[in-house]
């Protein structure tokens, strides 16, 4: 009975694996509906190096009243833009071009406007005491640390929360205490035009404020927040060029990598079967699941963008999954050589090998976590991919392989030859150990 059930399980798993592979690789129209199913592998976001994306160049102009050299200001602006853009597009690169330009590259984006709307139409932000174009600005964009959408539930109003820098907070405190004394309005200018003029009712300390009124919807308030934030750049930006670019590694890079990966996978499958026979087949089934699960996760997880180093991460994860199986099978071999029966060898082999596998995987996980935490751009992307690969690799090796082997033992647990194992002398020391343990 057990045997029948195990065979049924295997047949089921093979069907799932084949189905999984089909769903991973192929895209097709779903019959009787208007929907198209997109293969998991097609859903993976690709980096600029593999797929291309958008690029834009901004000219930088020094704001009239600014301090410091243009170079310092451009650096500060790049830092600011990097923070802003990488939040939504982690693989974006923002670099200085020439003496007074900033170049932005974002992979896998079809419409440059998607990204450019984030940067906004940059405009200088000014807080003034009087309603006049020429009046001196008490606070400028450089005093603002962040601006984001917020909802005032008490008055049911959409608005923008502004956080000032330390210096800005002091300035804002002084300004509001001055204005609130005579209940006069604060004039907020954006790009030289009066944006709003709220009346200051009280002194505001603490370095934050909430601007509301006249913003009809969340979208409008968010647009204002972007505008204000874009006014905080140290330099005035104007778009000089935007364009769509093709894969930087060359058009065929991805296709060739996939072909190489598949050939590599097949060679590994053959190798595992030749060396480990039925155990090898089990490993191959587990490796197939590694590939499918990984592809699904990579396409589903929003923070993953696949780049060339990421592909290396996937291959190394596969390498570690293969390694895990080899470590286990070699252990099982050792155990049977010392005279144990196959089921007992599998049990203790797994137990002993698991320690080594967990330790070696955790060191890699530690490395990838630190890189994901501290790394920037492509390094962070690589760390995420590696992390996901290792976790999936551990799962398929320690759990799936084990379940499959146990099923296989229900089918046949006596043929050393079929498992590529060597039978050792029966009455051996380790066998005695086993008796003791039992």
């Amino acid at each position: 009975m057990k045997k029948k059930k195990a065979i049924r399980n295997f047949v089921l798993m093979c069907i799932v694996a084949v189905l999984g592979l089909v769903l991973t690789i192929f895209s097709f129209d779903i019959p009787f509906t208007t929907y198209t199913f997109k293969g998991f592998a097609n859903g993976i976001q690709l980096g600029l190096d593999l797929k291309g994306g958008m690029m834009a160049v901004y000219d930088c102009e020094q704001a009239s009243d600014s301090e410091g050299t243009l170079e310092e200001q451009i650096d500060a602006t790049i830092a600011r833009l990097t923070n802003l853009i990488t939040e939504d597009y982690p693989e974006a690169t923002i670099v200085k071009q020439g003496d007074n330009q900033i170049r932005i590259e974002v992979p896998d984006v079809d419409d440059p406007e998607e990204v450019l709307s984030l940067i906004g139409e940059p405009a200088q932000l000014e807080f003034k005491k009087e309603e006049s174009d020429t009046a001196e600005a008490v606070l400028t964009g450089r005093d603002i640390k962040s601006a984001e959408y917020n909802y005032d539930s008490e008055n049911a109003e959409h608005g923008v929360s502004i956080t000032f820098t330390t210096e800005g907070a002091t300035k804002f405190h002084t300004l509001t205490s001055e204005l609130s004394a005579n209940q006069s309005p604060l004039y907020i200018y954006l790009g030289g035009e009066l944006f709003s003029s709220p009346t200051v009712k009280e002194t505001i300390a603490g370095g934050t404020t909430f601007i509301s009124g006249g913003m009809a919807s969340q979208a409008e308030a968010e647009a204002y927040a972007t505008k204000i934030l874009s006014g905080t750049y140290s330099v005035q930006l104007s778009l000089s060029e935007k364009n769509i670019v093709t894969a930087t590694l060359g058009e065929n890079a991805l296709l060739l990598s996939i072909i190489a990966g598949l050939i590599g996978l097949v060679l590994i499958f053959v190798f595992m079967y030749v060396i480990y026979k039925r155990l090898g087949l089990i490993a191959n089934l587990a490796l197939t699941f590694y590939t499918i699960i990984l592809m699904i996760l990579l396409s589903v997880l929003p923070f993953i963008q696949l780049t060339l180093p990421g592909i290396a991460g996937i291959i190394l994860g596969l390498g570690m999954a293969v390694d895990g199986n080899i470590v286990i099978f070699e252990r099982i071999k050792d155990e049977t050589k010392s005279g144990k029966k196959i089921p007992a060898s599998v049990k203790s082999g797994f137990k002993r090998a698991s320690v080594a596998i967990i330790d070696s995987n955790i060191t890699t996980i530690i490395a990838s976590l630190v890189l994901a935490w501290l790394g920037t751009g492509a390094i962070r992307g690589f760390a995420y991919t590696l992390l996901v690969s290792i976790v999936v690799s551990m799962f398929t090796t320690l759990i799936l392989s084990r379940i499959f082997i146990n099923w296989s033992l229900n089918i046949n647990s006596v043929s050393y030859k079929k498992y590529g194992l060597v039978k050792g002398d029966a009455l051996n020391k380790t066998d005695k150990e086993e008796v003791q343990n039992a």
Binding site: V95, R103, N243, V245, L249, S360, I379
Partner: protein, 354 residues
Amino acid sequence: MPKSNKTSLSQKYNAFLQKDFNIVKNWKYYFAVPVVIILAAIIVFACIGFNLGIDFTGGTIVKVNFGTDITSSQYTHYKATIEDVVKDNGIVNYSLQREGDTSNASISIKFQDIKNYNEEQMAEVITSIKEEITKKINPSNELSNFEVEDSQRIGASASSALLKNALLAVSIATVLMLIYIAIRFEFASGISAIIALLHDVLIMCAMVIICRIQINSSFIAALITIIGYSINNTIVIFDRIRENLRKEEYRKSTNAALFETSLKETLTRTIFTSITTILSILLLAVIGVSSIREFLIPILIGLVAGTYSSIFVSGSIWTFIYKRSKDKKLQKKIEEEKNANKNKVGNPEEKIVV
């Protein structure tokens, strides 16, 4: 394959395992190999420096606008023409990229300054490149909107800040790995594993300098890949050492003998795993495009260095610095065994050692 052949191979392998490897005894020879490689790299570095890529040095962008759509065969043709012009003008490091849309296709050329050329000389080179491109692609003005844009300097995209950041991340990762290994194993294993890791990284850098491979951001990514991966080989061997240390039969053997036994017990795995991993990466390097090769060759070097260090470097270092008397976990285990044996005195049969 005839069966007898196969058995003879496995017999040969078993006979090989019976031999003394004497890795620890001959440590000087095995350590000499990386030292020689690193020294050679230092000499090469002192004489001609290293080959920094455009990511680090910055360079020039020249953009060629066609003013109209181009077919992919046209693109291939233009690309080859431009490549020839760039090479003929003495540029060594360059990359071409297709840009633009259907109404205005363009190719942008990124290249690095020629070594030892000053600004004026480079300006001459750039002017001549631009002129020649126009002459070769659009000699009689048949592409009416054809234009070679003014060249622009591009800053280093892999700035020193990025490098510093990567270095910081790697240092912290290394320290955390050291702590983890020290807790799970003991301090000597941690130190030896980290030295092996350092070895792999140094060898990668050395080989890249010797082979004049361009150092760009994909090399940094390759280094980081190896840092994450190469420690596994060492861990598997150290895991076996940890296990064997607990066995009574090895209580009296030397560190060197213990390491050698553990190495032999895991050697099949080391060989199989190295074969499969190196093979997969090699395949990708052979089949893939040249820019991918640039990234994978350092990784291959790192993988080979990692296998070498796990066999010939980390074990010897461990042998030298590991002291059983200072291994608290081991001492505790021995203590427990003693107590257990005392209690078992009544049953002498259990104590027969085969």
